[in-house]
Symmetry: C2
Subunit: 214 residues, 2 copies
């Protein structure tokens, strides 16, 4: 069996499980979001800052994906948000089977929104459907404005791109136009919203977009 | 063939090619470094800042690994440094066969040092030997001090850890002791050097260490 056949077989199996997950979420009336980013771009911060701004009738739960540790899940749980930690044991992305195993441990009948924090990786997670409804890619100004050109698969997979740590864009000489041109070459109509999870800038625009599109 | 068998076969083939690469480098008297980090941590900046501080008798060349684009290779070439760009076409790491294909395009008889910039990814590159002599992992303060706990494979594979953008450690509440404890749990004797490619802080210590250990 050639390497490429194996990879296609793995992706095809994954897609079938992702479809099951989607049906389970739809049946429960839960909208699922796959949050993807480089390590340290601010995925957990985005989840916490989003949770703080959701209306009371939109209840959230979270799946945390990490190679190891439960640092992020503990931060989420401290805010009273139901959370399941998945440790991939070295694996570089979440896959649909991991989400399938997490779903029965979540109170799907009591929530409206599921945010899945993928492994910090700007490459591999883009290739694995989870069964969620929406891909959010979180870029950040310290990473530089050239990332769309270097990691096209991820920015191509995004339904919305958030640029975190935008309060520090001048410190990092971050060129929003250059970045946006790179994204739009790949993905012409994707919204791009500069945010700062720390200061809260841009968060209202993101949450309004999310509520409109979920 | 099970998935795990396929992965083991791929890694075993890769190790054999890595051994060939090592012999080719040793025969030419070239010391090879594999630079690994998250996207935007500062791999290219490290290479440029290192090049500027090497003694005249230590000539450098570079292999640039990216999914797409030649942005970094152009920056390196502008400094008069011989460079080969490898585009992985979506692949999440360099492998030994890619390095083997690059070696004949490098002036190995005229240089002493080869720096390989791996794909920006804190997971997958750690699993693929390239035939280089030394793994450098570049962390950065904006990514946060919890990365060793979350990405243990990478920090376990490091022979030295550099923490870039350390001039901004206060902005990001970066706790050096927490980070260092995480690294040392995995890799007790690895040197950890805070640096700033922008200000030059720590660069002399890194270059001195490199010249002593190459």
């Amino acid at each position: 069996m050639r390497k490429v056949d194996v990879i296609q077989a793995i992706l095809s199996d994954n897609n079938a499980v992702a479809e099951e997950n989607r049906k389970a979420l739809d049946a429960a009336g839960v909208f699922g979001i796959n949050v993807m980013a480089s390590p340290g771009a601010g995925k957990t911060s985005l989840i916490l800052a989003t949770a703080a701004r959701l209306p009371d009738e939109t209840k959230l739960c979270v799946v945390e994906g990490d190679l190891a540790s439960s640092i992020d899940a503990e931060l989420i749980a401290e805010q009273g948000i139901p959370v399941v930690q998945i440790n991939t044991g070295g694996g570089c992305h979440l896959d649909a089977a991991m989400i399938r195993s997490a779903l029965p441990r979540l109170p799907l009948d009591e929530i409206q929104l599921l945010m899945v924090e993928n492994v910090g990786n700007l490459v591999c997670p883009a290739n694995f459907l989870l069964g969620t409804h929406l891909n959010v890619v979180v870029a950040s100004t310290p990473e530089g404005h050239d990332k769309p050109f270097k990691y096209p698969g991820m920015f191509n997979a995004a339904r919305i791109v958030l640029i975190n740590k935008f309060d520090l864009s001048e410190v990092f000489d971050f060129d929003l136009e250059y970045f946006s041109n790179g994204v739009r070459m790949l993905n012409p109509d994707v919204p791009i919203i500069p945010i700062s999870c720390r200061t809260g800038a841009g968060m209202d625009a993101w949450v309004a977009w999310l509520l409109k599109n979920s």
